[in-house]
């Protein structure tokens, strides 16, 4: 079944590699001859959208990526951020959308494996993971199968590897029917003086292959991730990669042990397009050539060709440049962990990427140009037209209490407990806040007081209505979730999931979302230090909702002072911070309209970044000063849902005033931005110096009911049963 090496290069073959005729011409101009079959494979891997970012690079450059806290921004395996005391947090988010649609368990599992590797390649021990998932409408025949497979896959890998999953997102919408999104985030800890990079240094040094053996898994995977789905999808199946979390855990321990020994000069994990991308990157970054001898590569299948070895996406592998005098020591560490260790090449000074197999030179390419000369496009785009404003007639009225119960039990607002209970959220013994909180919080080992907070956010409905405001909002909501837990947001990572960039309206979404993200990150001092772009999320011409997921990390200086969502006690005053006198006004694209009335209409809420920052800084200070007893940001579903979540988490009820001169629907379900609900002992608000931040006392905690204004009281138990009920009932439908 193996593919012979001497295959004539035809236009069809070039097209099958996802290379456009002008891109192929670029290859011919660059090397001055026809590429060999293996070389064609190498180019297709390096120049596809996934690896080269050819459609997005121009726009990614506009994002803010630096700040005094940033040690390493985008361009390495993961971003590195200072958290004081010589410690750093290293993190990134990455998509595994297409593979997860084809084989949900393995697709999601290998997605988690890939992002963990990105983090520990840099010398960090992973301490937290998140997963942001988007599925088609619940009634779609594939949805349950995909949910159950993806969740089992995320858990299957992360639990076995041993990293706590502390947060994430799950959302359903018909626009993901044919293209689900699986975005995985991981963060690790490393000392600032023990970070490892991929830049090779020194000529004539051994290039070492580490980890698992190479098979034919995912040959052509990176090419697939850059292609739009069509009916031929069935034929693309055999490229499925299988994850082996046990080997990954051994690889983690072996790598950290090896790094501590001082033997590592440069290291790079093999992700998309495996050996090719990792070798080229290590060489190109260090201004060195690389020479590989494929006969030395540990393989697990017979008669593998050079082409297959260069493009294999077998998991749990790394490439390293080693200090030759420590070879024996290094090999012993890998043997102890039962892993492969093989010297497969060396660094050279000729700036060529030369690959040998069975005595033949199968590739000889200019190493820098493989990356640097990749095509870059300024794809045409059109400015998105924000949706028209709503009129009163667009907004159906409803009983506030009934609406709240229903909203809490709707597919997109119900509790995700069914999901996160399949994840190990406690392992490592440092989890301070588990999923269900505004942010997952993990204690920092080696420090008495420090903790890190994590959140992942985006509202794709806002982004569809207005990519610019939606992009701003994704950043602001993430920043707000970190703030609500008491953390100072440090930096973020993005996972930009969009449709086909060759369509100007999709490209327009992309351009404007990035504009919004950049602006918000600048205004909030929340630079982007790593990220990933996933384009072509489109099936038969229907694109997904624009979904720029933002993953954020914040620092809590003293975790005994962090805030939780749950009400702390009865008889405390409930403070609404950052809201207008009418409390809420904005219902465009709200959960109220969408989940209860099936209407995805109206403009996205506007994010006033100055207001956002001022309000957040104020809230964070109140938390740090120990003044507030509970804290929650207001997002989907508005004030009513936020208060209900605080009640459900604590089992304590609340009574909220009736807003003056305002529509109760907008007041309770409006999704105006930059707002928080806090609680504090009675009389606290009156004594606060608010510095112009709006603080209103809107009610009191206590009892067993939640009562919103003039609406009837609903028991916390009823709210909880609605909130907890939908997901298990939905998934149970799978087997009946």
């Amino acid at each position: 079944m193996s593919i012979p090496n001497a295959i004539p290069i035809t236009p069809e073959l070039v097209a099958a590699h996802g290379l456009k005729p002008d891109e192929y011409q670029r290859i011919l101009d660059l090397i001055g001859r026809e590429p060999t079959f293996t070389e064609l494979g190498i180019f297709s891997a390096m120049w596809n959208e996934h690896c080269s970012y050819k459609s997005s690079k121009k726009w990614l450059r506009t994002l803010p990526t630096s700040g005094p806290q940033v040690i390493q921004g985008p361009g390495e395996n993961a971003g590195v951020v200072d958290i004081g005391d010589g410690q750093t947090v290293i993190f990134k988010m990455e998509s595994h959308n297409h593979p997860s649609f084809i084989e949900p368990y393995q697709g999601a599992a290998t997605g988690v494996g890939g992002i963990l590797r990105d983090v520990f390649t840099m010398g960090a021990r992973p301490i937290a993971a998140m997963n942001a998932l988007r599925f088609g409408e619940p009634d779609h025949p594939k949805t349950r199968h995909l949910v159950s497979g993806v969740v089992a896959g995320v858990g299957g890998y992360g639990n076995s590897f041993g990293v706590p999953t502390v947060g994430g997102e799950v959302q359903f919408d018909e626009r993901y029917n044919g293209n689900i999104l699986v975005n995985a985030f991981a963060a690790g800890l490393a000392d600032a003086d023990k970070i490892f990079y991929s830049k090779a240094e020194g000529v004539g040094l051994p290039v070492v292959y580490l980890g698992a053996k190479t098979g034919r898994d995912g040959v052509g995977g990176a090419t697939m991730a850059s292609a739009e789905f069509d009916e031929t999808i069935e034929e693309k199946r055999p490229t499925v990669q299988v994850g082996d979390p046990f080997t990954e855990k051994c690889l983690l321990e072996a790598c950290l042990e090896l790094m501590a020994s001082g033997a590592v000069i440069a290291i790079q994990d093999m992700g998309a397009a495996g050996l090719t991308c990792s070798a080229v990157e290590m060489g190109a970054k260090g201004d060195l050539g690389i020479r590989l001898d494929l006969d030395k590569v540990p393989v697990r299948e017979e008669r593998m060709t050079a082409y297959e070895m260069m493009l294999s996406e077998s998991q749990e592998r790394m490439l390293m440049v080693l200090r030759p005098e420590q070879e024996e020591e290094a090999e012993a560490i890998f043997r102890k962990w039962g892993l492969d260790f093989a010297i497969v090449g060396e660094t050279t000074d000729d700036l060529r990427f030369r690959v040998f197999h069975q005595g033949e030179e199968v590739a000889n390419l200019p190493i820098k140009e493989l990356g640097d000369e990749a095509p870059e496009y300024d794809r045409p785009w059109v400015e998105p037209k924000p949706a028209a404003a709503l009129t009163d007639a667009d907004i159906p009225q409803a009983d506030v209490a009934d609406a709240l119960v229903k909203l809490l039990g709707s597919p997109n607002l119900s509790s995700r407990r069914w999901v996160w209970e399949q994840y190990d959220t406690l392992i490592q013994g440092n989890s301070l806040q588990l999923p269900g909180a505004d942010a997952g919080v993990v204690r920092v080992e080696g420090s008495e007081k420090k903790a890190l907070a994590f959140s992942s956010d985006v509202n794709p409905f806002y982004c569809e209505a207005d990519p610019y405001e939606g992009g701003k909002q994704a950043v602001a909501e993430c920043w707000r979730n970190l703030t609500a837990s008491g953390a100072l947001p440090l930096a973020s990572t993005d996972n930009l999931n969009f449709g086909n960039p060759e369509r100007p309206e999709i490209m327009g979404q992309f351009v404007f979302a990035i504009k919004g993200i950049g602006e918000a990150c600048r205004a909030l001092d929340f630079p982007i230090v790593s990220g990933n772009v996933s384009l072509y999320n489109e099936t038969l011409g229907q694109g997904i909702l624009p979904t720029p997921t933002i993953g954020g990390v914040g620092l809590i200086k003293d975790w005994s002072r962090m805030a939780r969502v749950r009400f702390a006690a009865e008889g405390e005053e409930i403070l609404l911070v950052g809201a207008s006198e009418e409390w809420g006004t904005h219902l465009g694209q709200s959960a109220y309209l969408r989940e209860l009335h099936g209407k995805k209409i109206g403009p996205a809420p506007k994010v006033d970044l100055a207001h956002e920052r001022k309000t957040g800084d104020f809230v964070r200070k109140l938390i740090a000063d120990g003044i507030v007893t509970a804290s929650h940001d207001i997002s989907d579903g508005g004030l009513a849902v936020a208060v209900a979540e605080m009640a459900i988490a604590s089992g304590i009820g609340a009574t909220i005033d009736q807003p003056q001169n305002a529509s109760p629907i907008a007041a309770f379900f409006g999704e105006d931005q930059g707002r928080y609900v806090l609680t504090a002992p009675k009389g606290t608000a009156a004594k606060l110096a608010t510095d112009g931040v709006g603080v209103q006392v809107i009610g009191v905690t206590g009892g067993t009911d939640v009562k919103l204004g003039d609406a009837k009281a609903v028991s916390v138990a009823a709210l909880k049963s609605s909130h907890d009920g939908w997901f298990p009932a939905f998934m149970d439908g799978a087997s009946h």
Partner: protein, 80 residues
């Protein structure tokens, strides 16, 4: 009643971490000369259907829809 046995195995080339781990464990226990292990699943199914051809047809459908993950697995059915 029909008793049937369904065997589900990984397709060629698909990584089998379990088989690999077992292979090396056997080596560790002193069993020399183990050249390969692949792990699969077996389902012993009892059907009320008595016609073997109909039973086999039903089992094939069960395999395609549930018992096997045909993206990465093959299956075989034996009746009786």
């Amino acid at each position: 009643m029909t008793k049937a046995r369904v065997i589900v195995t990984l397709k060629n080339g698909v990584l089998d971490p379990q088989g690999k781990a077992i292979e090396s464990a056997l080596g560790g226990l002193g069993f020399a000369g183990v050249a390969g292990v692949r792990q699969g699943k077996v389902f012993d199914v009892v059907l009320e259907e008595t016609d073997p051809a109909k039973a086999e047809e039903a089992l094939r459908k069960m395999c395609e829809q549930l018992l096997a993950n045909t993206v990465i697995e093959d299956f075989s059915i034996s009746i009786g």
